[in-house]
Amino acid sequence: MSPAPPGRGAHVRAPPGRVGRLVLGLLLAALLAALAFAPFLFPGTRAMATASRIAIFVVLAASYDVLLGYAGIVSFAHTMFFGIGAYGVAIALARFTPGWGALVLGAAAGIGLSMLLAALIALLSLRVRAIFFSMLSLAVASVALTLASQLRDLTGGEDGLTFSVPAALSPGFRLLAHPVLGVRLDGRLLTYYLIFLVALGLFLFLLRVVNAPFGRVLQAIRENEFRAEALGYRVVLYRSLASAIAAGVAASAGVLMALLLRYNGPATTMSFAIMVDLLLMVVIGGMGTLYGAALGAALMVLAQYYLESLLQALAEAAAGLPLLAALFDPDRWLLWLGLIFVLIVYFFPAGLAGSLRLRAGEE
């Protein structure tokens, strides 16, 4: 037909694409296996806390990616929903009789309120223009953060709320008197597996959503909302639903966070610092691929937990060399983290998963 169609030469790159997919698959399998057997592979409270956080942030980042990477809308309210979920549980357990009933009720209230609020923000703003969604989400999130710190009677203010979880999830609980494979079957372990399984279920649910006809429409809207509308898709409705689903999942992640910490305060779930982390996770992992969000979240949490210790070790090893020792000063961990981000964004502009998945013919 037409002479030399562009993109033909790209077929040569098919094998690297396949290798990339293999690497990505292996990384994800390793992440899943590590989380599934974390208590047995990495004993210790710190490792358990890290693994729980990874599971929670994988869900939070994946739900944010549904907005950013699929629906193409920038929300600054995602950690607000995370916080509302956590406050739902915290308030229910701290203010009423602690137990499964209060837990379920608090979680349901937090998730429901989040979805409602998200749909409302979307309907109010998206009718006008997508950019107003970002602005309105920022405003609402700021108000929510202020409310969380000031409604002391309800939320505990800046100090937050400490509460006890149902007995089976509390550290003192023993399922069996004897350890199995060297691991005590206690409330901590049950909490971990509750978090892991719920997180896994939520992630699979999101995968289902983005691969369903609905998710394909979201992609179409991200690519060209004008044409999507011309095809008969009600863009505002789709974006509002995506927003509500993402908010519901974020609130569920907040519920898990509250169970993990047995505490919730504005800084732990609602702050804008977490919002920035979340953006980084999604961008580093690769937007528009939930797997990317999972990798980004794992990488980021690991870096936050272990980069400091790694630098400590490096600094000790380089003790004799003044310049290196100064470079590896553990206090500089944030600097190193920033440097790693810049390098990743520079060498993997499509994010880790995005670059690994690049198919023949693409770009």
């Binding site: 169609p5 006809p213 609905f214 060209n224 011309a230 095809l231 008969g232 898709y233």
Partner: protein, 256 residues
């Protein structure tokens, strides 16, 4: 002339941008089984008229009716679901999605299952096969796996038309479908339009500058000039008229 009630109708339709009236009081009815060519110089308001019909722009005056129902205030998505399909003058695709997915999205829209959150789109074989079939109609079957941006300009135009075909509308709005296509590509598209016309069910509106194409395909020609409908009639009469000659001389001067 045509006994069937109009499929699409505009009455006193108009829009102004600031002080400029881009479409001015256009009343016209289009009947099933007919192809109406819309001609006029650059900037005459042809695309703007289409935008008013399909809802991308809201009219400042007048009405649009589809099968007798007023749709003047409905959003484009609703009009599309009611059977009013539109291809675009400027290429308007989902650029990083594959050629197949571009068409599959239209098939899916036609099937009305966009809100399905639980089935796997990749497993809905019937939709995918339908998309392949439509791609074959515009001779793009070998390019199915390529992202839309990687297509040549002519192929992108064909894809745009494939998307419209996949929607199976009852009213087709084509806006210069062969503009920018090579001499061997244009016939593919013109043959397709002729096929749709031959089925005698659809209502087709075609903005077209090439007079040979107009003579070949059109049952009727309307002329827009500075936003106004200035001539309406059989192709041989209208094309020969002094008005069109003048309008097109004006257009050529405009193109420099």
């Amino acid at each position: 002339m045509t006994p069937a009630p109009p499929a699409l109708e505009s009455e006193g339709l108009g829009i102004r941008f600031g002080g400029q009236v881009a479409v001015d009081d256009v009343s016209c009815a289009f009947h099933p089984g007919t192809l109406t060519a819309i001609v006029g110089p650059n900037g005459a308001g042809k695309t703007t008229y289409f935008n008013l019909l399909s809802g991308q722009l809201r009219a400042s005056a007048g009405e649009v009716r589809l099968d007798g129902v007023t749709i003047t205030r409905l959003p484009p998505s609703r009009r599309s679901r009611l059977g009013l399909g539109r291809a675009f003058q400027l290429t308007n695709l989902f650029p990083t999605l594959t050629v197949l997915e571009n068409v599959r999205l239209a098939v899916q829209a036609r099937a009305g299952i966009g809100l399905d959150v639980f089935s796997r789109a990749a497993r809905l074989r019937a939709l995918i096969e339908r998309a392949h079939a439509v791609l074959a109609q515009v001779r793009l079957q070998t390019r199915a796996a390529v992202p839309a941006v990687a297509l040549s300009h002519g192929d992108q135009r064909k894809l745009d038309i494939a998307i419209l075909l996949a929607l199976e509308p009852s009213v087709f709005l084509f806006d210069e479908p062969t503009a920018g296509m090579s001499v061997d590509e244009a016939p593919v598209v013109l043959d397709l339009i002729e096929q749709i016309k031959a089925a005698r069910r659809a209502t087709i509106l075609l903005v077209e500058h090439k007079m040979d194409v107009v003579r070949r395909l059109a049952d009727r020609v309307i002329v827009l000039h500075q936003g106004r409908l200035v001539a309406d009639g059989a192709p041989e009469d209208v094309v020969a008229s002094a008005l069109v000659q003048e309008a097109y001389l004006g257009r050529q001067a405009g193109r420099g």
